[in-house]
């Protein structure tokens, strides 16, 4: 009886939590909608030419009108982003892993990578085009290069943060360095890896778009540049909307992966 009496008041806080969650979902949407309405009003009432400031309704019209074409252009962008990202992930994990096996290697390579990482990676783009030509290999190389660093650095930090007592336990069990890496260091560093992956995926998109600006005849970056040349500002914004959705989907997929890993780790 006492239990029931004590449970009842909890309905209040629970309902409050539900409202709080609803608010965190509704508030940003409402704010974005208000901004769009304001933009629409300024564009229509201000009488700006469509080339300078298309109204959101114009962007929507362009999006619906050229939806097939925009989606067709999104395919190579997404493909190159994901391929570059995957390559960067494999390279980043492998190189970071290699460093846990050899202190000498780490002392030799790590500072150099940090120095290269300090230079804005986009500055290297023309060089990759000189080396790899105008085409998919150059775009992949740029995406991989730019996405590599956050993954590598996060992975080095993750591997280094591995609980020393776990490693000592493995040594007492006569585990080989390879087994220690595979069974303890790698799983222990996954939370760090996911932090790096989240940064890397957004950078990979940037890399591919910049590469498409410079050297492409397809992709959303190419489409944006072509639309600018044709003064189709509405189409630029429509392409950006699709790009935004593509980026969100990639990020969301990694976020889901991270949650799965958290659950697996019993958090």
């Amino acid at each position: 009886m006492a239990l029931a009496a004590e449970t009842t008041p909890e309905v209040g806080p629970t309902a409050g939590m539900g409202f709080e969650r609803l608010r965190t979902a509704v508030l940003p949407v409402a704010f974005a909608a208000a901004l769009l309405a304001l933009w629409e009003a300024i564009a229509v009432l201000g009488g700006y030419p469509k080339v300078i400031l298309p109204a959101p309704s114009d962007v929507l019209a362009a999006l619906l009108g050229d939806f097939g074409e925009i989606c067709r252009q999104a395919v190579p962008t997404l493909r190159d982003t994901l391929t570059g990202f995957a390559l960067a992930t494999v390279l980043g994990i492998a190189l970071a892993g290699l460093m846990t096996f050899s202190r000498l290697l780490k002392q030799a390579i790590y500072p150099l990578i940090i120095v290269i990482q300090l230079v804005p990676k986009i500055a290297w783009t023309p060089l990759f085009i000189v080396w790899a030509g105008i085409g998919t290999p150059a775009r992949l190389a740029i995406a991989t290069f730019i996405a590599f660093f956050p993954i590598f650095i996060a992975m080095v930090a993750g591997l280094e943060s591995t609980d020393g007592s776990l490693v000592r336990l493995c040594r007492s069990l006569t585990a080989t360095p390879w087994r220690i890496f595979w069974q303890v260091r790698l799983p222990a560093s996954l939370p760090y890896l996911f932090a790096g992956l989240k940064i890397a995926i957004t950078l990979a998109v940037i890399g591919v778009i910049v590469a498409e600006f410079i050297s492409s005849s397809e992709g959303l970056g190419f489409m944006i540049l072509k639309s600018a040349a044709l003064l189709r500002t509405d189409l630029i914004l429509a392409a950006i909307v699709v790009l935004c959705v593509v980026g969100l989907a990639c990020y969301g997929a990694i976020d889901l992966g991270e949650r799965a890993v958290r659950r697996w780790r019993g958090e």
Binding site: S165, L166, R168, L169, R171, S172, Q183, P187, G266
Partner: protein, 258 residues
């Protein structure tokens, strides 16, 4: 297995950290002792006296600066697969369930773990974790985690158990409980064991023999046999004989401090 006689021989062992530098620390002074097969020996001493360093050298995880360690007739160079080590922390893999943690030694050694699942489950039941086989460490209490660690240490049937203050992070009641669990498991499996502790009562309760270590640099200043018959219950802790041995040991430690 060696029959009667010495199973672990520590011969003029010494350890100095960072020799020749300003941070030079003499952790263990020249120390010799031996442990017979099937014997439970405690290394008792104040915190920081080098007893853990001594144990880690016997485990092959730390290299001695001087001297040698002989286990089962072979000189220690590196960790041996037949030694089970228990650390101060349970050192469980957080992403593995209790039973998978118990099975981890097989994975680490590259041996198939699956055929051992039944044995692991039986061990967990024995230490009172029957309903918790598939819980992850985060869902277990400190005492439960250390029970899982006991099972993990025993599952691959090591012939030598090395325990480094395994219960020092637990509260007094849980600690008594763990001593009882350890005692039961040890009586059943009967391995040679070296147990490091700074608790006098714990050492007396568990051991056949207690080696008292001095403050740093540690060396052995007393070797006291504990005569109680086994199996031992926790109630022997209230007997006058038990308390007499405890005060004798306390006297030895205090004598050193002056």
């Amino acid at each position: 297995m060696i029959g009667a006689g010495d199973y672990v021989v520590v011969d003029r062992l010494a350890k100095t950290f960072n020799p020749g530098t300003r941070q030079q620390v003499e952790a263990v002074a020249t120390t010799s002792f031996s442990v017979k097969a099937g014997e439970f020996v405690s290394l008792l001493g104040p915190s920081g006296c080098g007893k853990s360093t001594l144990l880690m050298m016997i485990a092959g995880l730390d290299a001695p600066s001087q001297g040698a360690i002989n286990v089962a007739g072979r000189t220690m160079q590196s960790p041996r697969a037949e030694t089970g080590v228990m650390f101060q922390d349970p050192t469980l893999l957080p992403w593995k369930t209790a039973i998978d943690n118990v099975l981890f030694p097989f994975e680490a050694m590259g041996r198939p773990a699956r055929p051992q699942a039944e044995r692991a489950a039986a061990l967990l039941d024995q230490v009172g974790l029957a309903g918790f086989h598939h819980h992850k460490p985060r869902q277990l209490s400190g005492g439960m985690r250390q029970r899982v660690a006991i099972c993990r240490t025993l599952v691959f049937e090591p012939d030598l158990l090395l325990m480094d203050e395994p219960f020092s992070a637990l509260d007094a009641m849980t600690r008594d409980d763990m001593n009882l669990v350890l005692m039961r498991m040890w009586e059943e499996h009967h391995r040679t064991a070296i147990f490091v502790t700074h608790s006098i009562r714990e050492a007396v309760y568990l051991s056949d023999r207690v080696l008292v270590m001095s403050q740093r640099p540690g060396r052995i200043i007393a070797d006291v046999a504990i005569p109680f018959a086994r199996p031992r219950g926790l109630e022997i802790g209230e007997t006058p004989e038990f308390n007499a041995i405890c005060s004798h040991l306390r006297g030895k430690i205090q004598q050193m401090a002056h």
